[in-house]
């Protein structure tokens, strides 16, 4: 049986409904909310601020530190113990390198920009939603950026390449590949790429091309939210 009809009835390249809001956390220097289907991410940016312990400081530039975390009640199964785990540490690290590629903190030596992303509910694609939200929060905080970053998971479900897999598709009883991709808005350069499952090179390239189109749609939502925020102020 070929996978032609998606579990939730979407077209192959159709993304789940998106919603973006800016400035939802007044204490933060920048903040954003991003919803992709049933996955929700809250992002807050604090900084540039002085970095402690001091030996971590870089006299040539500021640094960025991402902190990804799922709220204890945000998993579709049992409660998640708070306090982080290996998975959240790895995601924080790949978020860091993804976002680092577009920001320039050379004007703020010895400082840190902390990016916190917390998710109250999830349905796959959490690291992508986290990066998309974090990118908007950084822009809202006025951090010098070359570009915005938009992220989406693509993959192949039982021989069919699709965009923005949800949990039911990730867990589909067939050969499934899950490929989170983050891209810069203008040049469509890849700043995050992970993959698990099984896929041929031809399908992978097709999936990445689908990701370029999908991240463009996400970028439009991010841009509209930021424009809306700054024209209101």
């Amino acid at each position: 049986m070929v996978y032609t009809k998606r579990v939730d009835g979407r077209k192959l390249d159709e993304l789940r409904p998106m919603e973006a809001k800016i400035g939802i956390i007044p204490n933060a220097d920048g903040s954003a909310y991003f919803k992709m289907g049933n996955t929700i991410a809250y992002a807050a940016v604090y900084g540039p601020r002085e970095l402690f312990p001091k030996f971590l400081q870089n006299p040539k530039t500021g640094i960025i530190r991402c902190h990804y975390s799922m709220m204890p009640f945000s998993g579709s199964g049992e409660r998640i113990r708070p306090g982080g785990n290996r998975r959240s540490q790895e995601i924080s690290m790949v978020m860091n390198s993804s976002l680092q590629s577009v920001i320039d903190l050379s004007a703020f030596p010895n400082t840190v920009v902390d990016v916190y992303v917390d998710l109250p509910q999830t349905d796959a694609g959490t690291r992508c939603a986290a990066i998309t939200a974090a990118s908007m929060a950084l822009a809202h905080a006025g951090i010098p950026m070359k570009d915005l970053i938009s992220a989406v998971a693509v993959g192949e479900v039982d021989g069919t390449v699709v965009a923005d897999l949800n949990y039911d598709e990730e867990a589909y009883d067939a050969v499934v590949s899950d490929i989170p991709v983050a891209m810069t808005a203008n040049k469509k350069e890849i700043t995050l790429l992970q993959m698990d499952g099984e896929i041929s090179k031809a399908s992978l390239i097709k999936a990445l091309e689908m990701a370029a189109i999908a991240t463009e749609k996400i970028y439009q939502v991010q841009k509209a939210a930021l424009k809306n925020k700054f024209t209101k102020e």
Binding site: N27, P72, Y116
Partner: protein
């Protein structure tokens, strides 16, 4: 966000005159008070509460576990709070701070000691299995008065919670499909915290005002005005007369908060 000494003095001076930095009266809550239910589809019950620009979320998760030996016919509850670094520049990642632990324990006592949840009804098979309820409260934007906001969010989340379905053969829990059965909530405790600055008593402080208090007393009362938990904080002492005035004010404000909460529960 460091409360400067000069600001602390200003807050105290204003309080002595019955005034506040944001022009509220001493016994007035910030606006808006807003409650949103079911903010997380993955939780069995959840709520987001906003008081002014203090925003918190609470989520209820249920698990089936072995009963305790000393209470073989009861389930249990646990309250945990996470003061997220996302919500305030003063919070850091790492093990829970004493502020977070106190907050969780005071909310926990308010619910537990009021016997708000009928723990016997959580028992599935005596001496073997029972439901255990975890309430996680998370700060999104902390601008003061977390006790009241978190207590309100916990109650709202409990009121919106439904049991998940259980496979009758394997006993496995299907969290994705909820039953129509609500939690056995028999009382509805709500905490109100009264702060003492100088000789003035006030409610719903901002983060700035919290940096200037001399003493505080949290009083959890149920819908009939019965007190189920208290916690005094701060280094200044309270007289019996002051304590009495604080309890009167807390009881009055608890009725107010309950009415605000009920506007969103329908």
């Amino acid at each position: 966000m460091i409360t400067m000494i000069v600001n602390k003095e200003t807050i105290a001076q204003l309080a002595a005159e019955g005034k506040r930095l944001d022009r509220r009266s001493l016994t007035e809550y910030r606006k808006p008070i807003h409650v949103e239910l079911n903010i997380s589809w993955t939780a069995e019950g959840s709520a987001k509460v906003q008081i002014g620009d203090t925003i918190v979320m609470a989520g209820v998760k249920l698990a089936m576990e072995k009963t305790y030996n000393d209470t073989p016919d009861e389930g249990g509850i646990m309250v945990n709070t996470e003061l997220l670094p996302l919500s305030n520049p003063e919070y850091e990642s790492g093990p829970p701070s004493i502020k977070s632990i106190e907050l969780a324990r005071v909310i926990d006592r308010g619910i537990r000691e009021a016997k708000a949840i009928d723990l016997k009804k959580l028992c599935i098979k005596a001496g073997e299995k029972a439901w255990f309820v975890t309430i996680d409260i998370i700060t999104i934007n902390d601008n003061g008065n977390l006790f009241d906001a978190c207590g309100m969010a916990a109650l709202a989340a409990l009121k919106s919670a439904y049991f998940p379905t259980v496979d009758p053969v394997t006993g496995a829990i299907d969290y994705k499909h909820k039953t129509k059965e609500k939690l056995p909530l028999i009382k509805e405790p709500l905490p109100v915290t009264v702060y003492k600055i100088g000789n003035a008593l006030l409610v719903d402080p901002t983060f700035e005002e919290e940096g200037a208090y001399d003493a505080r007393l949290t009083v959890a009362t149920d819908d009939k005005g019965v007190i189920s938990a208290m916690q005094k904080g701060g280094s200044a002492p309270l007289t019996i007369e002051e304590t009495s005035r604080i309890i009167d004010l807390a009881t009055e404000k608890s009725r107010f908060l309950r009415a605000e909460l009920n506007k969103f529960l329908k």
